[in-house]
C-alpha cells in the first residue's frame, strides 16, 4: 500500500487468517505471501478501528455481520489478473475442433462454463470468438461464468475495460467489439448478453446444482492457488458436471498429474486438453 501505513501480521495471526481463507475459498497462501495480506488488508483494518490482525480475525469470527465481512476479505485476497484472449490457442481449439465435433454428433445446444472468470475477459473472449466463427447461428450456445469475488463480477457485468485487459488483442477485434468510453472501453452489448454471470465458490458443494450439465469447462489459472486436496475436490466437481464427451481446459502451468485419473490428457499441438473418461 502506498498511502496508508501497513499493519504487520504476526506469525500466529498469519496462520489463522490463512486457514480462514483456505476454508472459505480453498486458496493457499505460502509464507512468502504474508506481505500480500498486510498490503491488501491494512486499510480495511483501519476502517474498522483495528490495530492488529488479531482484532480482525475476531471480527471475522464473532461479529454478527461476519458473512458480509468474509465477502470483503475474499474480494481483497484473490488474485484476479486476466486479459482478453489469454492462452488463445485453447479457445481456438474449442472453436475449431471441440464444438464442430459436438455439432457433428448431432448436438444442437452446447453449454460452456468459465469457472473462475475474474472480471469476465475469459468468457467474453469465448463469446467473441464464437461470434467470429458464426457458431451462435448454428447452435444454441450458453456460456456460464462464475467467480468467488463479487467485485470482479461487477466489473464483468458492466463490461467496461482498461487497456491492461487488451494485451495482445488484435486491433481488429478490439475496434469491432469495443467502443471507447472515457479512458475505458465498453464491450458490445450483444456479446455481453451471451454470458451469464453468477457468484460461486468452486468448493461449494451446491456448485454442481447451480451450473448443471456442461460440455466444456474452462478453469484456468486458479487451481495454482489451491492445495492438492482442494484441487481434487474441484476436479471431481468438474467430472460430475461434464457430460460425455466432456472437455476441460486448464491453465498452461496447471496439470492433473497426481490429482485425478478420471480425465485423459491430450496434446492438440497448441496446448493440452483433458477429456472426461
Amino acid at each position: 500500500m502506498i498511502t496508508a501505513a501497513t499493519i504487520k501480521i504476526k506469525d500466529d495471526e498469519f496462520v489463522e487468517l490463512k486457514d480462514i481463507i483456505y476454508k472459505n475459498a480453498a486458496i493457499s497462501f505460502a509464507d512468502s505471501k504474508k506481505y500480500l495480506l498486510e498490503n491488501r488488508l491494512s486499510k480495511r483494518l483501519q476502517e474498522l478501528n483495528f490495530t492488529s490482525f488479531k482484532d480482525y480475525i475476531y471480527y471475522l469470527k464473532y461479529d454478527a455481520k461476519k458473512r458480509e465481512e468474509m465477502e470483503v476479505l475474499l474480494n481483497q485476497v484473490t488474485i484476479n489478473e486476466t486479459y482478453f484472449l489469454r492462452e488463445r490457442a485453447q479457445m481456438d481449439h474449442m472453436i475449431k475442433t471441440i464444438i464442430p465435433e459436438l455439432l457433428n454428433s448431432g448436438k444442437r445446444s452446447v453449454r460452456i462454463w468459465s469457472a473462475a472468470c475474474s472480471s469476465g475477459e475469459e468468457p467474453y473472449s469465448l463469446a467473441i470468438l464464437l461470434n467470429e466463427a458464426g457458431l451462435f447461428a448454428k447452435a444454441n450456445i450458453e456460456i456460464l461464468a462464475t467467480d468467488i469475488n463479487t467485485e470482479v463480477l461487477n466489473i464483468a457485468q458492466q463490461g467496461l475495460y482498461r487497456t491492461i485487459s487488451f494485451r495482445g488483442v488484435p486491433p481488429m477485434i478490439q475496434d469491432k467489439y469495443f467502443s471507447k468510453d472515457g479512458f475505458a472501453f465498453k464491450l458490445d452489448p450483444n456479446i455481453m448478453n451471451k454470458v451469464k454471470f453468477f457468484q460461486g465458490n468452486l468448493l461449494n458443494p451446491m456448485m454442481s446444482v447451480k451450473v448443471g450439465r456442461l460440455d466444456i469447462i474452462f478453469c484456468r489459472n486458479v487451481l495454482i492457488y489451491f492445495d492438492i486436496p482442494a484441487k481434487q475436490k474441484v476436479i471431481e466437481l468438474f467430472h460430475k458436471s461434464l457430460g460425455m464427451p466432456g472437455t476441460l481446459y486448464l491453465g498452461h502451468s496447471e496439470t492433473l498429474n497426481k490429482i485425478s485419473e478420471s480425465f485423459r490428457m491430450e496434446n492438440f499441438g497448441g496446448g493440452i486438453i483433458y477429456k472426461k473418461i
Binding site: 500466529d12 486457514d19 475476531y58 471480527y59 489478473e81 479512458f183 502451468s253
Partner: protein, 472 residues
C-alpha cells in the same frame, strides 16, 4: 554442465539451466561440501519451468550439505509448476523458498509490473538497485500506452528519488487516466515539488476517488502554514470524497489549526461515516480535549461513530477517562465493549482489573477475549482467574489465557502450555502453546516436539514443530 556457481563473499548463488539433468544437480550437491566460509547458499530455479521428481532428491542433498558446512540453504524463484511438484512431495515447508529479483534481467522485471501480486515488490527492488539501465527502461515505459506499467514506472522512479525524471513526471499530472495521475501526484509529493501543489489541489478537487487519497498525502507533504485553512474550507464540500480527503491531509499535517478545524467539522458534519472518519482523525492528535470528544462520541446513535470513538480511546490510552471507559465494558454494542477493554489493558492497574474480571460473565465472546488479553497487559498476576476459564469451550479463550499467563506467571504458563500442546483439540491452541514453549524452552522440549510431530493432525502445527526443531 547445466549449473553455475557464483560467489559473492559468503553468499553462493547456484544458477540452474532449463531442463538441467538431475545428475548435474547431484554433482552440484556434492560440490557444496568442499566449499568454505559460506553463510548462505541460494539455488536459483528461475530458468526451470519444470522439475523431475528425481531432481528433488538432489535438492534435499544440497540442503543437507549446506547445513554440514554451516550455511543456510534457500531455493529461489520457484515457478508455479515447480512449486506444485514440490508440494506433491510435501517439500514446500522443508525448503525456505524465496524470491530473488536480482537474477532477472531488467526486461523480465518490467514484465512483472503486469502481475499485481509482484508489481509492488518488483518496484521496490528496482528502486533499491537503481541504475542507468533501469532508468532508461522506465523512461521507455513512460512513452508506452499501458497505464498499469506507467503507474509502476512512475512510482519506481519516485521511490528511487530519480529527480532527473521530475519534469517528465509532472507532465503526467495532465493525463486523463486517474491511475497515472495518482502515481504522479504521489511522486511529486515525495520529491517535495511545491511548484505542483496547486495542480494537486485541482486533482483533489475533482473528487475522483481513485486519486483523492494520494492528493491528500502529497498536499500534506508539501504543506506550509496556509494549507490548513485551505483544506479546512474543503471540509464543507458537497463531495464526500473531497471531505474525506481533506480530513486525511489535515490528519497528516497534524498542527493546531488542523485540530481546531477538524473539531469544528465534527459539529457540522451530517453523514455518519464521515463523522467516524473525523473521530479517527481527531484521535490521532495528541491534544487536550481529545478524550472528551471521544467520550461524547460514545453516546452517538450511530454504531460506526461509537466504535470509532471507543477505538480512539483505546488508541490514545485516555488515563483521565478511566471511569467512563470502564463503564462501557458492558456496552450493548460488543465492539464498543471490546475497544473499552482494550483501552483498559493499556491504562488500568491491578485495582481496576477486578472490575474487568467481574464483568467477564456478563459480556459477549469477543469482549471476553479482550478481557483476558487486557489482564495479561495489566501489572499483576491473575493466574487464579485464568485457571477458572482454561477449560473453556471456546478455543480462542484458551489461547488468550495461555498468552496472558505467560505475562503474569511463567511457571503456570509452562505447565498449561505443556498440557495444552499435548492434549488440546484445537490446533489454534496447540499452535499458541508451542509458541510459548518455544520461548520458555522447558526441559525435555525436544522430546515433546518429536512426540507431537508424529501424532499432530494439523499441518500448521507440524510445520511449526519442524521449524522449531531445526532451530534448536
Amino acid at each position: 554442465m547445466s549449473y553455475k556457481f557464483t560467489r559473492y563473499g559468503d553468499f553462493l548463488k547456484i544458477m540452474v539451466e532449463q531442463d538441467a539433468p538431475f545428475k548435474d544437480l547431484e554433482d552440484a550437491a556434492r560440490e557444496i561440501v568442499n566449499l568454505k566460509d559460506l553463510k548462505r547458499i541460494s539455488l536459483d530455479l528461475k530458468n526451470c519451468y519444470y522439475i523431475q521428481s528425481k531432481a528433488l532428491a538432489a535438492l534435499i542433498a544440497m540442503k543437507k550439505n549446506s547445513i554440514k558446512i554451516g550455511a543456510e540453504f534457500i531455493v529461489s524463484n520457484v515457478c508455479d509448476n515447480v512449486y506444485q511438484v514440490m508440494e506433491m512431495a510435501n517439500l514446500t515447508s522443508y525448503f525456505t523458498i524465496e524470491e530473488d529479483f536480482s537474477s532477472y534481467t531488467s526486461d523480465e522485471l518490467m514484465e512483472k509490473f503486469f502481475q499485481p501480486d509482484y508489481a509492488d515488490r518488483v518496484s521496490d527492488f528496482i528502486a533499491g538497485s537503481y541504475s542507468d539501465e533501469f532508468r532508461a527502461k522506465l523512461l521507455e515505459i513512460l512513452e508506452m500506452p499501458e497505464p498499469e506499467l506507467k503507474f509502476y514506472a512512475i512510482l519506481t522512479m519516485g521511490k528511487a528519488h530519480d529527480y532527473s525524471a521530475e519534469e517528465r513526471i509532472k507532465k503526467e499530472l495532465d493525463s486523463d487516466i486517474p491511475l497515472i495521475v495518482k502515481a504522479s501526484v504521489l511522486v511529486l509529493g515525495w520529491f517535495g515539488d511545491s511548484g505542483s501543489k496547486e495542480k494537486i489541489y485541482q486533482v483533489l478537487e475533482t473528487g475522483n476517488e481513485e486519486v483523492a487519497e494520494a492528493a491528500a498525502a502529497s498536499i500534506s507533504l508539501l504543506s506550509d502554514e496556509s494549507d490548513a485553512e485551505r483544506l479546512g474550507r474543503l471540509l464543507s464540500s458537497h463531495s464526500k470524497v473531497i471531505r474525506i480527503a481533506a480530513i486525511q491531509a489535515m490528519t497528516l499535517i497534524n498542527d493546531d489549526t488542523c485540530f481546531g478545524l477538524l473539531k469544528d467539522a465534527l459539529d457540522k458534519e451530517q453523514e455518519d461515516d464521515v463523522k467516524a472518519v473525523l473521530i479517527r482523525a481527531v484521535s490521532s492528535f495528541n491534544k487536550a480535549g481529545v478524550s472528551d470528544i471521544l467520550i461524547k462520541g460514545l453516546d452517538s446513535k450511530s454504531i460506526k461513530i461509537r466504535e470509532a470513538s471507543a477505538g480512539g480511546l483505546a488508541k490514545i490510552k485516555a488515563k483521565d477517562k478511566l471511569e467512563d471507559i470502564i463503564s462501557r465494558i458492558t456496552d450493548t454494542d460488543a465492539w464498543v465493549g471490546y475497544f473499552a477493554v482494550k483501552a483498559c489493558g493499556e491504562i488500568c492497574s491491578a485495582t481496576e482489573a477486578e472490575r474487568l474480571m467481574s464483568s467477564y460473565d456478563k459480556v459477549e465472546e469477543n469482549v471476553k477475549l479482550a478481557i483476558v488479553d487486557a489482564l495479561g497487559k495489566i501489572p499483576g498476576d491473575f493466574s487464579d482467574f485464568y485457571m477458572t476459564i482454561l477449560d473453556n469451550g471456546n478455543e480462542d479463550i484458551r489461547k488468550e489465557v495461555l498468552s496472558s499467563l505467560l505475562h503474569d506467571n511463567k511457571e503456570n504458563a509452562k505447565e498449561a502450555a505443556i498440557n495444552l500442546f499435548a492434549n488440546d483439540s484445537s490446533w489454534i491452541v496447540r499452535y499458541k502453546a508451542l509458541e510459548i514453549l518455544e520461548q520458555i524452552r522447558p526441559e525435555g522440549f525436544r522430546d515433546m516436539l518429536m512426540a507431537r510431530l508424529t501424532v499432530d493432525d494439523s499441518k500448521y502445527v507440524k510445520d511449526k514443530i519442524q521449524a522449531v526443531l531445526e532451530e534448536i
